[in-house]
């Protein structure tokens, strides 16, 4: 954004490749529209938007994890479940569910810290399988806690005083604001030094280390951030149900959806999860009349994209147009 002047070599370093005012102005307009959605759109649409933002959070986190940090986790549903249950616990203790969202997310993130010390001993496929084991173990622990409803779950307390309309509005706004924080936060992270070093590690871990990068601790940060983000998704999921049950909170379908959205949109690109989530919902809305067939079509599509267009929809657009909607890189220019 800010141009830095380097007098001795006569070059300037800039960030965005088009005027930042357009980026910020555009974001403000989009943000205002989504904030106003419950007042302008029919209830059914608001519900779709709610699910859209829920998936957007998850896809953004999975993209950060797998697309940028190379950690192919198939256990993110574990942190979604933990976020849901952390929120349930805090609500049972008397906290307002809305106020408890950040804390629930942080609890999921905190649980991820010790988990990394075990998981990071493993590589590649072993790492992936282990993340799934962690997710299932977390669910088994939750199942055994009677206070949290065991296998049948519990309704989320603290929402009874809201009218159905107010509940719908507030629940949507909570999801939307969480998605906004997660998306903007992830974008800023990818534009930061951390984002640059992540991109370097993706190309050569060896060279990154010998350039001074602390590869393992960088990975740990990303894993914990992704767990926190998925925890936040779990928390807003609990509010939008509003019933917390292990089979739903720890459902592996969340993983399938976030994976699909990321791969279709373009893994390892900032824009990918956003595009992918839009594609997912457009397809879902138009194909759900086909019954189970829609799942087969989704699966075939994901395989086809992975095989023939590994950069996803956004990868194709970027390669054809060289356009970046959300630039993260640096450009050197003559003064």
């Amino acid at each position: 954004m800010s141009a830095t002047l380097v007098p001795d070599v006569g070059r300037t370093v800039v960030r965005a490749n088009y005027h930042p005012a357009i980026l910020i102005g555009g974001s403000v307009v989009v943000a205002a529209l989504f904030t106003a959605a419950p007042w302008i759109l029919p209830v059914a649409w608001v519900s779709v938007l709610n699910n859209f933002f829920l998936l957007l959070i998850m896809a953004t986190m999975w993209n950060l994890l797998a697309g940028y940090a190379g950690m192919v986790s198939i256990g993110q549903q574990g942190f979604i479940g933990l976020g849901s249950y952390a929120l349930l616990y805090l609500a049972l203790k008397g906290m307002s569910p809305f106020a408890a969202i950040p804390l629930a997310a942080l609890i999921a993130g905190a649980i991820a810290v010790p988990v990394t010390f075990v998981l990071f001993r493993l590589r590649g496929g072993y790492f992936s399988v282990a993340t799934w084991v962690v997710a299932d173990s977390a669910m088994l622990v939750i199942l055994s806690i009677a206070y949290l409803g065991g296998g049948t779950g519990r309704p989320l307390p603290g929402l009874a005083n809201l009218s159905p309309t107010a509940y719908n509005h507030d629940s949507y706004l909570a999801t939307w604001l969480t998605a906004l924080v997660v998306s903007v936060g992830t974008y800023l992270l990818l534009r930061s030094r951390l984002g640059l070093v992540l991109a370097s590690m993706r190309d050569s871990e060896t060279a990154a280390r010998s350039s001074g990068a602390k590869v393992t601790s960088t990975r740990r940060w990303i894993f914990v951030i992704a767990a926190t983000g998925c925890g936040a998704a779990g928390a807003v999921l609990a509010i939008s149900q509003p019933f917390v049950q292990p089979g739903n909170a720890f459902n592996i379908n969340w993983l399938a959806e976030m994976l699909f959205a990321t791969i279709i949109g373009g893994i390892g690109t900032v824009e990918g999860p956003i595009i992918g989530t839009i594609v997912y919902f457009v397809l879902y809305q138009s194909l759900q009349g086909l019954g189970a067939w829609y799942l087969i079509i989704f699966g075939a599509l994901a395989v086809a994209v992975a095989l023939w267009q590994p950069g996803g929809v956004w990868g194709l657009v970027r390669d054809k147009t060289r356009f970046e909607l959300l630039p993260v890189g640096y450009r050197v220019r003559d003064k």
Binding site: R11, L196, S200, R209, S210, Y330, V332
Partner: protein, 245 residues
């Protein structure tokens, strides 16, 4: 105090001994060339200094402090920069971003000053006009220069160059040697593994010969190249004669 000290450093990969009680001492400002046949343990020596390879026995001290067990990143941040024989560019990043990663992570300099340092590393290595080029699109000469730029951007006191001139044309070697001499003139200590002996001789004032994981000669370039031990190692000997004359 010596800048770098290796004390009886040993390393084996299975049955293959790649370092057998190697001891070496470098003073700040030195420019040392390392020669030796393929498999002599030259690159492994660098990897042990930079931390990519852990030693089996012995001790390594940098600026008087033991770094034998330190991580690669910690050694880089302490002031040890290295290049790889087969360049390892961050292919999807631009040339400038490659240098910037090294400035951020290695030199721990950020913001405006960080950008300036990265640009400076590109100017010194002659890459400034390619600053926005994706590193993956570079040819061999530029990849080698980028290795150098990135190592330089970490702000090293000790620079380990691994066959940076290998595979280049004579003219390219001359250009690159100029760059390295410039780096040396700024006070950076240089250790340079090279088969292109002529390039070495124009830059270094001390030569070390490794063979079979052992240090067989250490001294002025002329002494080392004329020593009996080195002649035995290089059976042909012709290349060296040509270089000295």
């Amino acid at each position: 105090m010596p800048l770098l000290q290796l004390k009886d450093v040993s390393k084996r990969f299975g049955q293959v001994v790649v370092a057998n009680g190697v001891s070496l001492q470098l003073e700040a400002g030195d420019a040392v060339g390392i020669v030796g046949p393929n498999g002599a343990g030259k690159t492994t020596l660098f990897s042990m200094i930079a931390g990519d390879v852990k030693v089996d026995a012995g001790e390594i001290l940098f600026k008087g402090r033991p770094i034998t067990r330190a991580a690669v990143a910690a050694r880089c941040r302490a002031g040890i920069g290295r290049t790889y024989q087969i360049p390892l560019p961050f292919e999807h990043l631009s040339v400038f971003e490659n240098a910037l990663v090294a400035v951020h992570q290695g030199a721990r300099v950020h913001g405006l000053e960080g950008s300036e340092r990265a640009l400076d590393a590109l100017v010194r290595t002659g890459l400034i006009d390619l600053a926005n080029r994706p590193a993956g699109a570079l040819g061999l000469l530029h990849r080698k220069r980028l290795e150098l730029a990135r190592a330089l951007a970490t702000g090293p006191e000790l620079l380990l160059l691994d066959e940076i001139a290998g595979g280049l044309t004579d003219l390219e070697v001359v250009e690159l040697t100029e760059v390295i001499r410039g780096i040396r003139a700024d006070g950076v200590t240089i250790v340079w593994i090279e088969h292109v002996v002529r390039a070495l001789l124009s830059t270094v004032d001390r030569l070390v010969c490794l063979a079979g994981g052992e240090l067989v000669a250490d001294g002025s370039p002329r002494e080392v190249l004329n020593s009996e031990a080195v002649r035995r190692v290089y059976l042909g000997g012709a290349i060296i004669n040509e270089a000295v004359s």
